[in-house]
C-alpha cells in the first residue's frame, strides 16, 4: 500500500466515522424523545384487545350450592362511623368481593388522588377505605393489588400527602406511580366526541378494575364521582378535555367499564371542589355507595349533595346513550348500616 493510498484510506475512514457519529447523535435525540415523551401514546393506535367483561353475577357464582342464587342489588348503600366497615358491608351486600376478584387475579384500584391533602379535607378518596378494598381483594385471593392514579401535579407529593401511599402499603398493596410508558393510545369506538386517547394500559390488563372515587363538587361537571374519576387514567395533556366535557366523560365510560364501583362518601366536598382545602366545605354523610355501573352509582351519589341525576348533564347523556340506568326508581337499592 503506497503512502498516498493510505492517506486516502484514512480520509475515507475519518469521513465514514464522522457520518456515523452524526447519525448516532441524531439517534440519541430520537431515543431521548421517545423516552421522554410527555404526550404519551407515541402516535401508536392500539385498539383494546379485550374489553373488560361486563360482569354477569349469575355466571360467576360457582353453582356449588343448590339454593337459588339470591337476587343481588344494583346498588348497596351503607352508612356507619367506620369508613372501612362501610366499604366492607357494601361490597358484601353486592355479593362479596369473591364475586369480582377471582383467585390469582390482578386487581387495579383507581382512587381519586388529585393532589396531596389531609383526609379530613375530602380531596382524595379515604385512605382507610382504599386500604380496606386492598385487604378484601387479597382475602378474595388476588395475586396482586395495584393502586394507581395520575395526579394533576407531582405524583409523589399527591400519594404521600393524601395518606394513600402509606395506607395501601400497610395493606400490602402496591402504589404505582405512572410513567409515560404506562400509557397507550386506545380507540374509543363508541365515542361521539372523544374517539381515542392515551389511557393507562393496566386498566385493560387487569382482571378486575375497581373505580373508587370520592364525591366532590366540580365547577364544570357539577359533581365529580365515578365517571369523572376516570379522567385520572387519561394520559397526555388533559386541559383540552374541558371542551365538550360532558360528552367526553360519557365517551370514556363507553370503553372503560369498571367491574366494581365504590363511591366513598364518608366525607364529601360540597364547595370549592375538586381540590377544596377547607373544613367548611366538607360534609360527612359517612356513607359508601357500591355498584357495578358508574352512572347508577353517580345518580345515587348526586342525592347526597341534594341534587338529582338529571341535574348533571353527563349523567343525562350517559342514561340516554344506554351507558347506565340513572333513574333510581328502576334500581334495586339495598341500604343498611355497618
Amino acid at each position: 500500500m503506497s503512502d498516498l493510498e493510505r492517506r486516502e484510506f484514512c480520509r475515507i475512514l475519518t469521513g465514514c466515522t464522522l457520518i456515523a457519529c452524526t447519525g448516532g447523535l441524531a439517534g440519541c435525540a430520537r431515543l431521548l424523545d421517545w423516552s421522554a415523551d410527555v404526550e404519551a401514546g407515541r402516535g401508536r393506535v392500539a385498539t383494546m384487545a379485550v374489553s373488560p367483561p361486563s360482569l354477569e353475577p349469575s355466571a360467576t357464582v360457582v353453582p356449588t350450592e343448590t339454593v337459588p342464587v339470591p337476587q343481588l342489588p344494583d346498588l348497596a348503600v351503607f352508612s356507619g362511623d367506620d369508613p372501612a366497615a362501610n366499604v366492607r358491608a357494601a361490597v358484601d351486600a353486592l355479593g362479596g368481593m369473591a364475586l369480582f376478584v377471582k383467585r390469582g387475579a390482578r386487581v387495579v384500584i383507581k382512587p381519586n388522588v388529585i393532589t396531596g391533602r389531609a383526609v379530613e379535607l375530602a380531596t382524595t378518596t379515604n385512605p382507610a377505605a382504599v386500604a380496606e378494598v386492598v385487604k378484601m381483594a387479597y382475602e378474595a385471593g388476588a395475586a396482586q393489588v395495584i393502586v394507581l392514579d395520575r395526579p394533576t401535579g407531582d405524583p409523589r407529593t399527591a400519594f404521600e400527602g393524601s395518606g394513600i401511599a402509606k395506607a395501601v402499603s400497610d395493606a400490602d398493596g402496591t402504589v404505582k406511580i405512572l410513567s409515560d410508558r404506562n400509557f397507550e393510545r386506545f380507540d374509543i369506538p363508541e365515542g361521539r366526541v372523544l374517539t381515542s386517547w392515551p389511557l393507562v394500559t393496566d386498566i385493560f390488563e387487569a382482571d378486575t378494575f375497581i373505580n373508587m372515587p370520592i364525591g366532590k363538587t366540580h365547577s364544570m361537571a357539577g359533581l365529580t364521582m365515578s365517571m369523572k374519576n376516570l379522567m385520572g387514567i387519561m394520559g397526555g395533556t388533559r386541559g383540552t378535555i374541558h371542551q365538550d366535557f360532558h360528552q367526553k366523560i360519557v365517551d370514556l365510560a363507553t370503553l372503560v367499564k369498571p367491574h366494581l364501583v365504590i363511591l366513598d362518601a364518608y366525607r364529601i366536598m360540597i364547595r370549592n371542589g375538586p381540590t377544596g382545602g377547607s373544613l367548611k366545605d366538607v360534609r360527612t354523610p359517612k356513607t359508601v355507595i357500591a355498584g357495578t355501573n358508574m352512572p347508577s352509582v353517580d345518580a345515587y351519589g348526586a342525592t347526597l349533595f341534594g341534587q338529582k341525576a338529571t341535574d348533571l348533564k353527563y349523567l343525562v347523556n350517559a342514561g340516554a346513550q344506554g351507558v347506565g340506568v340513572i333513574d333510581l326508581s328502576r334500581l334495586e337499592i339495598l341500604k343498611g348500616t355497618a
Binding site: 431515543l31 431521548l32 421517545w34 423516552s35 421522554a36 410527555v38 393532589t115 396531596g116 391533602r117 394533576t152 401535579g153 407531582d154 405524583p155 409523589r156 407529593t157 399527591a158 404521600e160 400527602g161 402496591t174 402504589v175 404505582k176 406511580i177 405512572l178 410513567s179 410508558r181 404506562n182 366540580h218 365547577s219 364544570m220 395533556t237 386541559g239 383540552t240 374541558h242 371542551q243 365538550d244 366535557f245 370549592n272 375538586p274 381540590t275 377544596g276 382545602g277 377547607s278 366545605d281
Partner: protein, 505 residues
C-alpha cells in the same frame, strides 16, 4: 535507600481517599436533597462554606450552623488550606482532570498569577459591601452544586427513563420496571423529565474551570478560587506549616516542581502559607528528606503594594457601587416571581449563593435559574417558571435547603398563605372569553381553599350571533397566592392565558 525515601508518610497518604470520600458524600447528600426532606441533605456542606457564611453575616443573617463556617475559616491557622487538598469536591474534580498534565506556566507568568488571589478577595469584598452576592457564583461548592443540579440529575433522569423504556420492551421485566419507577419517581427519575434553563451555560462554565488545567494544573484552585483566597488570607497568619531543614536541603527543586499549589518560595526554603494545602507532596518528592511540618514555618507571602490595594480596592468598590445603582435594584421584571419565603429582591440578590439547591429539591421543577430577568447580577438566582411547573401545595422545601436564608424556611401552613405573585387572566386569549368554549381548568385546580378563581355564568353572544350561557373565570385578587398551578395547567398553547406576575415586594 532511595526506595525507602519514596515511602509515603503521615496522614497525607490518605489525601486522595479523603478527596473522593468527600466527593461521594457531597453527591450522596445532594441526591438526598429531594422532596420530602429528611434530616440529611446537602445543607450543611454549604452552610459550612466560610465564603457564603461571611457574605450572609455581612448582610446581617446569622444561624447557629454558621459556627461550622467559622470553625472552617479558622482551620488554615493550623492545617493550611487542607480544605482545598483534602475536602473540596470541586478541587477533587479539577485535580483529577489535570492529573496527567505536566504543563507549567513560565516563571514570569507564575509571578503574575500569584498576585491574583488578593484582588479576587478585594473584588468580592467590593461586591459584598454593596450587597451583591454575585461573587458567590464562583464559590466552588456553590458551583458544583449548581453544576450537578443542572447537568448531572437531569442526565440520570433521562438515562433511567431510557433504561426503563428499553426494559419495558421485554414483557417479563415490566413489573420490575414499574416497581423501580414507583420507587425512584420524584427521587431520581421524575414524572415529567427534569429540565433546567442555562444547561449549556453551566456546562460551559464548569468546562472552562476544568479547562484552566490546560494552562497549568489546578490554576483555578491556586489563583482564582474566591474561597481559596479567603482561606489563604487566614493562612497567612498560620503559626504552623511546612518547614524545611536548610542544612539538609540540596537545592534540587523537586519540591517546587511537585507542589500542586505553587507554594514553594525563596530557594525552596520558605512557604507561601496562604497557598500551602499541607498535602506534603513536596516531602514525598524530597530526595534528602529535608521537608517536614512544624511550628513557625519560614513564610514568604505576596502582599500587594499599597498602591495596588488602593487601585484594586477602588475598582472593587466602584464595581460594587455600580451593581448597587443597577436597574435591577429599582425596577423589577413583572414576570420575575421568586419562590415563597424569598426575601425582598435586593436582599435576595445580596444573600443568594447561586447554588441551585432550591432548584434541586423542588419537586415540580418550577424553580429555574434566572437568566436575564434579575439582571446579570441575579444570574442563576431562583425564579418561578410556570411553563415548567407550579408551586406544589404540599411542599415548602426550598426554604429549608437554602444555606443563606435568601429563601426563608416556611412552615407548610405559612407557605400556603404566602403571596408571591398574582394571576391575571388574559381575556384576549382565554378560551371561554375569546373562543366562547367551555374551559375551567384554572378554577378546577386552584389549590387555595376558598378558590382564588371564581366563575361567573354569563349570558353571552358569540361573534356568529349565537346567544348562550357560558361560565367564565375571574381572579379574586385577595385570595391568589401566585402558586401558578393555573398558569401551568392552562390549555392555551405556548403562552398561558392566565399569567402570574410578581407583586410588589
Amino acid at each position: 535507600m532511595p526506595a525507602e525515601k519514596r515511602r509515603r508518610r503521615g496522614i497525607h497518604r490518605f489525601r486522595r481517599a479523603s478527596q473522593w470520600t468527600f466527593l461521594v458524600l457531597f453527591t450522596a447528600l445532594l441526591t438526598l436533597t429531594v422532596w420530602p426532606l429528611g434530616h440529611v441533605f446537602l445543607g450543611a456542606f454549604l452552610v459550612g462554606d466560610p465564603l457564603i457564611a461571611a457574605n450572609s453575616i455581612a448582610n446581617g443573617v446569622w444561624t447557629w450552623q454558621m459556627l461550622i463556617a467559622v470553625a472552617m475559616l479558622a482551620t488554615p491557622l493550623v492545617i493550611g488550606r487542607a480544605f482545598c487538598g483534602f475536602v473540596c469536591p470541586t478541587g477533587t474534580l479539577i485535580e483529577a482532570a489535570g492529573r496527567r498534565s505536566k504543563r507549567r506556566l513560565s516563571a514570569h507568568a507564575r509571578e503574575r498569577w500569584r498576585t491574583v488571589p488578593a484582588f479576587v478577595l478585594l473584588g468580592s469584598a467590593g461586591l459584598l459591601l454593596f450587597a451583591s452576592g454575585f461573587f458567590l457564583l464562583f464559590d466552588p461548592l456553590s458551583m458544583l452544586t449548581r453544576t450537578a443540579t443542572v447537568l448531572l440529575y437531569p442526565f440520570i433522569d433521562r438515562m433511567l427513563r431510557l433504561i426503563g423504556d428499553i426494559a419495558y420492551l421485554v414483557p417479563p421485566l415490566r413489573s420490575a420496571t414499574d416497581v423501580a419507577t414507583t420507587a425512584l419517581t420524584g427521587r431520581l427519575v421524575f414524572a415529567v423529565p427534569r429540565v433546567y434553563g442555562l444547561s449549556l451555560g453551566v456546562l460551559g462554565f464548569f468546562a472552562a474551570i476544568l479547562g484552566l488545567n490546560l494552562l497549568e494544573p489546578r490554576l483555578w484552585c491556586k489563583h482564582l478560587c474566591p474561597l481559596g483566597a479567603l482561606l489563604g488570607f487566614v493562612g497567612r497568619l498560620a503559626p504552623a506549616g511546612r518547614v524545611v531543614d536548610a542544612d539538609a536541603c540540596i537545592q534540587c527543586g523537586a519540591c517546587e516542581e511537585t507542589c500542586p499549589m505553587d507554594a514553594v518560595r525563596e530557594g525552596f526554603l520558605a512557604t507561601d502559607t496562604s497557598r500551602c494545602q499541607l498535602c506534603m507532596e513536596c516531602a514525598d518528592a524530597c530526595p534528602v528528606d529535608a521537608i517536614s511540618t512544624g511550628l513557625r514555618p519560614r513564610k514568604s507571602l505576596y502582599s500587594p503594594s499599597r498602591r495596588a490595594v488602593v487601585a484594586g480596592g477602588g475598582l472593587a468598590l466602584l464595581g460594587g457601587f455600580f451593581t448597587y445603582t443597577g436597574l435591577s435594584r429599582v425596577a423589577r421584571d413583572a414576570r420575575l416571581v421568586r419562590p415563597p419565603g424569598a426575601r425582598r429582591e435586593k436582599d435576595l440578590l445580596a444573600l443568594c449563593s447561586r447554588c441551585g439547591q432550591c432548584m434541586k429539591v423542588c419537586p415540580t421543577n418550577v424553580l429555574q435559574p434566572s437568566l436575564s430577568k434579575a439582571g446579570l447580577e441575579g444570574f442563576f438566582t431562583p425564579e418561578m417558571d410556570y411553563r415548567v411547573g407550579a408551586c406544589d401545595w404540599a411542599c415548602s422545601e426550598c426554604g429549608k435547603v437554602c444555606p443563606t436564608t435568601a429563601i426563608q424556611p416556611l412552615e407548610l401552613e405559612t407557605k400556603r398563605t404566602t403571596r408571591i405573585g398574582r394571576a391575571y387572566i388574559d381575556q384576549n386569549r382565554c378560551i371561554p372569553w375569546t373562543d366562547f368554549k367551555t374551559c375551567l381548568v384554572c378554577q378546577e385546580l386552584c389549590p387555595v381553599p376558598e378558590k382564588a378563581i371564581v366563575v361567573t355564568e354569563d349570558d353571552v353572544v358569540t361573534p356568529e350571533g349565537v346567544a348562550m350561557k357560558l361560565q367564565r373565570p375571574h381572579v379574586v385578587v385577595d385570595r391568589c397566592i401566585g402558586c401558578g398551578i393555573c398558569e401551568f395547567n392552562c390549555p392555551v398553547a405556548q403562552e398561558s392565558a392566565i399569567i402570574v406576575r410578581t407583586i410588589d415586594l
